[in-house]
């Protein structure tokens, strides 16, 4: 254990934070157009009653559906070959095995079910990598709710199989052409839809971002990851892990992986962000060639919350970049921003190259093809294993099937040890 062991002084109680007022120190809040405020108040009320209060047995039904439809609990697997490679016990929390192929279903199922309890008649959602969109589309089909998904046009082109899957599930996928056509624009567009349809529509935000109560609610739905992992680690390793590593885009995987450990001062929490091609920023072009908002961002207000952002000196939001669409977001959940300021969570950035190597390494040595988002966590593990403790948990936030096209294209540009020959696939798969 290393520099992060100094975090034992962390504030408590982790799970209550933000539930009442949506504030995490200076972060959080409800910065939304007035038209949305009544809906947000209604949602806050529903969150308190159903999620916190288990009214009408909401949480029981949620947990049951997560188990039966979603496939929970997911395993905590000891990774034999990685453990050997790094000389410490490496455990994988297998969210890639969740229905739909990523942790995203935990939240999507929770929110779609909540919308049903609230009597809403329609679901909308934004999506970046398509993982939240597919999770929402699956949950909506499962619960018989009409669903519209907004997705940036560029992301649509990067993630066509996911677009097709959403449509197969009966969702309407609306392309967003504004800006660079990625997640940021899709969120804005979904908010616009919501502003017009707020009375009968629930907006299923895909991460621990947005106005209160979304950050706490999404965290509470995703917390099942660390609740399980904590128990499983104690069962398997006889002790708490020394480190938990999770990739962070908006931060739902991270908060879900950390939530149950926040009060365990001995557990170091590593939030791995997309370092993109470099951490340098092109102010003039308004482009950050990374998505490291915790590591390199500054305080500001975006999409309903005060948090850490990639922004220029004027406060304009930057275009973020990452090899993985799901991390390609200029903001991050306010609670994470807070935990980083408090020193409880260590933000780290892993660049595209290291993430891609992590992708190939996990595929080859453990027989698990991770999402490119997830691969960043394994990039961190490779680069910093020596600094970690004896029992490391890495959350495999999703599987990589959605990323095959990107992997081919990006691998073909580079020289990656152990990667298969791409020549057969460069024409497309």
């Amino acid at each position: 254990m290393t520099e992060t062991s100094t975090t034992e002084t962390t504030t408590r109680p982790g799970r209550e934070r933000g539930r009442e007022d949506g504030k995490f120190g200076r972060y959080g809040g409800q910065y939304v157009p007035e038209a949305l405020m009544p809906a947000i108040e209604e949602l806050t009320d529903a969150y308190r009653r159903y999620v916190l209060g288990n009214e009408d047995g909401f949480m029981d039904e949620f947990r049951e559906r997560l188990a039966d439809f979603g496939g929970r609990p997911t395993p905590l697997q000891r990774a034999g070959r990685l453990s050997e490679r790094y000389g410490r016990e490496v455990y994988l929390k297998r969210e890639d095995l969740l229905h739909g192929g990523a942790h995203k279903l935990n939240n999507a199922l929770g929110q779609v079910l909540l919308a049903k309890y609230m009597g809403k008649e329609r679901i909308i959602a934004e999506t970046g990598a398509g993982q939240h969109g597919t999770a929402t589309a699956m949950a909506a089909a499962h619960l018989d709710m009409p669903c519209t998904i907004y997705m940036g046009e560029r992301d649509i082109n990067r993630q066509r199989p996911n677009v097709f899957r959403m449509k197969l599930n009966g969702s309407d996928v609306k392309p967003v052409t504004a800006g660079r056509g990625t997640l940021k624009e899709a969120i804005s567009e979904t908010m616009r839809d919501w502003a017009a349809t707020v009375e009968d529509t629930h907006y299923v935000i895909g991460s621990v971002v947005g106005p209160h109560p979304f950050p706490v609610m999404v965290r509470d739905f995703q917390a099942v990851i660390s609740e399980e992992a904590r128990e499983q680690a104690i069962g398997k390793a006889g002790d708490l892990p020394t480190d938990v590593i999770a990739c962070a885009g908006g931060g739902s995987n991270t908060m879900g992986s950390f939530a149950a450990f926040v009060d365990d001062g001995s557990v170091a929490l590593h939030a791995v962000e997309a370092g993109g091609s470099t951490l340098e920023v092109d102010e003039a072009a308004g482009v950050a060639p990374n998505s490291a908002s915790l590591y390199a961002g500054e305080e500001g207000v975006l999409h309903g919350a005060r948090t850490k952002l990639l922004q220029d000196s004027h406060g304009q939001i930057m275009e973020s970049h990452s090899i993985s669409s799901g991390l390609d977001y200029a903001g991050v959940g306010p609670e994470l921003a807070y935990l980083v300021d408090e020193g409880r969570v260590t933000p780290v950035a892993v660049d595209d190259d290291a993430a891609l190597e992590g992708f190939h390494r996990l595929s080859r040595t453990e027989g698990i093809i991770p999402a490119l988002e997830t691969a960043h966590a394994f990039g961190f593990l490779e680069e910093h294993a020596d600094e970690l403790g004896d029992r490391v948990v890495v959350t495999v936030s999703g599987r990589g099937d959605k990323d095959l096209e990107s992997v081919i294209e990006e691998t073909d540009k580079r020289d990656i040890a152990g990667a298969p020959d791409m020549s057969m696939f460069t024409g497309g798969i």
Partner: protein, 300 residues
């Protein structure tokens, strides 16, 4: 619309003035025409000409959009304007320079998102932005993503520098929330005619009437926006009880048309002026109708 008695009670409560005397004056005698344009759309020079055309067209207050990269409250039309302005190089600094350079009679209100206000200047927080806004002569602010709950710091700065802080009231805003907003608002209240984002729509919804009814008891001018694009709309809205009309997308459409069809700046400015005259005239007809309707002693 409910009975005359109810209307009569509100007509008694004359709109109260806020920090800005000029804004108060704009609503004082007759209905206010409040046009909006995004500053810098499609470039600095044309934008100057366009805003001045609004003024010539009879604007009582002008809302100047300071473009933000994530305009979540705007529909596609104004979003397009914002993108053009940002591509044209608009920044908060140039925005302030623009305001200083502008030669208009109407008081000016800046419409922008909270992050730009928060980030401006060397220290975090809204104060330095407001200070600079006051320096260049802005009379008020509208911040669509800043709810009343989070508005205290900005409210204080506005009070310190004598700016009005305009809030938006949606068709869904009622009860406690409405009161909280009405405590914070000054200058005028922006009554959102319908749900959704900005954008020109062709009719006036019942919800506008309901909103105005809910606001009747508050003595602040009520300017209705969202979806007004013709003199006839303006007439109906003002006849329905509005103290002013806010028009954005219909004007931005003219700018967009100019860009698409490569029209000379002067021609676009002329059309903006003409639509402004139509809207203003419509508002005045509506006001006249309302005054005639009401008891003679009630007319302002």
């Amino acid at each position: 619309m409910p009975g005359d008695e109810e209307r009569a009670t509100t007509d008694d409560a004359a709109p109260k003035t806020g920090n800005s005397a000029t804004i108060a004056a704009a609503f004082a005698d007759g209905p206010a025409y409040v046009p909006y344009l995004a500053v810098g759309d499609p470039d600095y020079e044309s934008s100057l000409a366009y805003v001045e055309a609004l003024d010539r067209g009879g604007a009582d207050v002008i809302e100047l959009g300071l473009p933000f990269s994530e305009p979540i409250a705007e529909g596609p039309t104004i979003q397009g304007a914002v993108v053009r302005a940002l591509e044209g190089g608009m920044t908060p600094d140039r925005f302030f320079a623009f305001v200083e350079e502008l030669d208009v009679d109407a008081p000016l209100v800046c419409m922008t998102y909270y992050n730009l206000i928060y980030q401006w200047g060397d220290s975090d927080g809204p104060r330095s932005f407001v200070e600079r806004a006051a320096e260049v002569g802005l009379q008020g602010l509208v911040v669509p993503d800043l709810p009343a709950e989070e508005a205290d710091p900005l409210r204080e700065a506005c009070d310190e520098f004598g700016l009005d802080l305009v809030f938006i009231v949606a068709p869904t805003t009622e009860g406690e929330r409405l009161e909280r907003i009405m405590e914070q608002v000054s200058g005028y209240v922006y009554v959102q005619a319908r749900l959704g984002t900005t954008g020109a729509k062709s009719d006036v919804s019942d919800r506008t009437t309901e909103s105005l009814d809910r606001l009747r008891g508050y003595d602040v001018p009520k300017a209705v926006g969202f979806g007004i694009s013709t003199g006839e709309h303006a007439e109906r809205i003002v006849a329905g009880g509005a103290d002013g009309i806010i028009v954005g997308s219909a004007l931005v459409d003219i700018v967009a048309d100019g860009v698409e069809n490569d029209r000379p700046t002067a021609a676009v400015a002329e059309r903006l002026e003409a639509l402004s005259r139509e809207l203003k005239a419509g508002a005045e007809r509506g006001f006249a109708a309302r005054t005639a309707d009401a008891a003679p002693g009630d007319a302002r």
